[in-house]
Structures are given as C-alpha cells and as structure tokens.
Symmetry: C2
Subunit: 94 residues, 2 copies
DNA sequence: CCGTCGATTCGATGGGCATCTAATCGTCCG
DNA sequence: CGGACGATTAGATGCCCATCGAATCGACGG
C-alpha cells in the first residue's frame, strides 16, 4: 500500500468525530449525507470536510444522486489497511 | 476495549514520525532509547514525548535499566486494536 | 562528592486542522 | 425563470500538538 494512503487512513481514523461518522456509515450499506447532518451535532460544512478526508483516504465512496450524496464504506481498503498495519509492525519487516 | 484507549491508539498511529519510531521498535524485541535518538532526526525531548504517548496508548512498554530506557512493543494491545477496529466498523455493530 | 550522560520535564512556538459562517453551486419543482 | 434545498467551497478562528532549547533528574564512574 502507498505510504501516503496509509498515512491518510491513520489520520482519518484519528479524529473521534470523524471516526464516529465513519462508524455510522459502516453500519449500513449506504447512508445519505443529510442523515449524517441530522444525526451529528456538526454543521454541513464540517461534515463535507470529513467526507473529503475519508474519501481521499479511500475509506468511503461518494455517490451523487440528484441533490443528495450517499456514502458507502469501501471495506476492501479497510482490510488492506489492517493488513498493512500488521505488515509494518511485524518483527520480520525489512 | 476502552473508548479512550482506542482513541489514544488511533492518535498515536496518526503521526508519521511517531509511527516510524513504533515501526522501528517493532522490528526487534527491544530497542534502547538512545538508539532511537541516534537513528531519528529528532531531539531527545521529542522522542521522550512520543514514548509517553505510545506508552499511554499501551502500544509500548518502557523498561528502565540504569540510565537507559528500553522500549518494547506490546503486541497484544496491537492485536486488540485491530479486533476493535474490525468490530466497530463491521455492519452488524450496535 | 563531583562530572558526565541518558532521559525527562517545562515553557514557548509554530503549523496543522476541526469547526464555524457566509457565499456559491447544482438540482429539483412550481 | 426563480425559489428552495442539499452540498460544497472559501476564509477566518481557535485549539491541539509536534518540536525545540534549557533546565532538571537519576544513575554511574572516578
């Protein structure tokens, strides 16, 4: 895995509020952005910011449908991250 | 896993320099602190700071031997973190 | 008991980032 | 077309934290 993507994922997971949002998205196969805005005590602008970070990290995909945006967790990237973490912190790494 | 510890781990992994140090420690069963100071372009004060964060997160243990400190990765906590990550980001989480 | 050395602590500083408001964009509906 | 609504962007602000230098601590060797 690319070093920059790995770091983006680490940072994306590091903010509690952003992680909570990710966790919320992960509970269903898809979540509408407006639901997040309704459920979290955070302004739309900030939600949008977090979505961009999660998207840049590859952790979520954004599907636009008319006015609405729908978020979806990319489970493959999540699995890749965990593999990379194990790899980098294993004893036999060169 | 405690929520605070989970967040501490996430944050501890998020800083690239600190992760590099953790990765370095993970390569051997134990690393002397002065080795880290020698190998990384970072002042002792900053290394000490990172060690405190990694320690608070439970990711490393510090063994003092005379003047020297020896760092060791706590692999169990690492495994716990990965399990927790999977659990929190799985679809069937309540 | 003093000097040295590894490590820690303290206080200051600078940069990054989460958050906000306001403005803008894009889409839908009348 | 024009208003409404969801989303994004831009710019400002305040906080957290990585980093540093200097001071201190603790252990060891003369």
């Amino acid at each position: 895995m690319e070093d920059t993507q790995f770091q983006r994922i680490c940072k994306a997971l590091a903010d509690p509020q952003r992680f909570a949002i990710l966790q919320r998205i992960a509970r269903e196969s898809e979540v509408a952005c407006m639901h997040l805005v309704a459920e979290f005590p955070i302004r739309p602008a900030t939600i949008s910011h977090h979505m961009r970070e999660l998207s840049k990290a590859g952790l979520v995909e954004i599907r636009k449908e008319g006015k609405c945006a729908h978020l979806r967790v990319v489970r493959g990237v999540l699995a890749q991250y965990q593999r990379e973490l194990r790899k980098r912190l294993s004893k036999q790494e060169l």
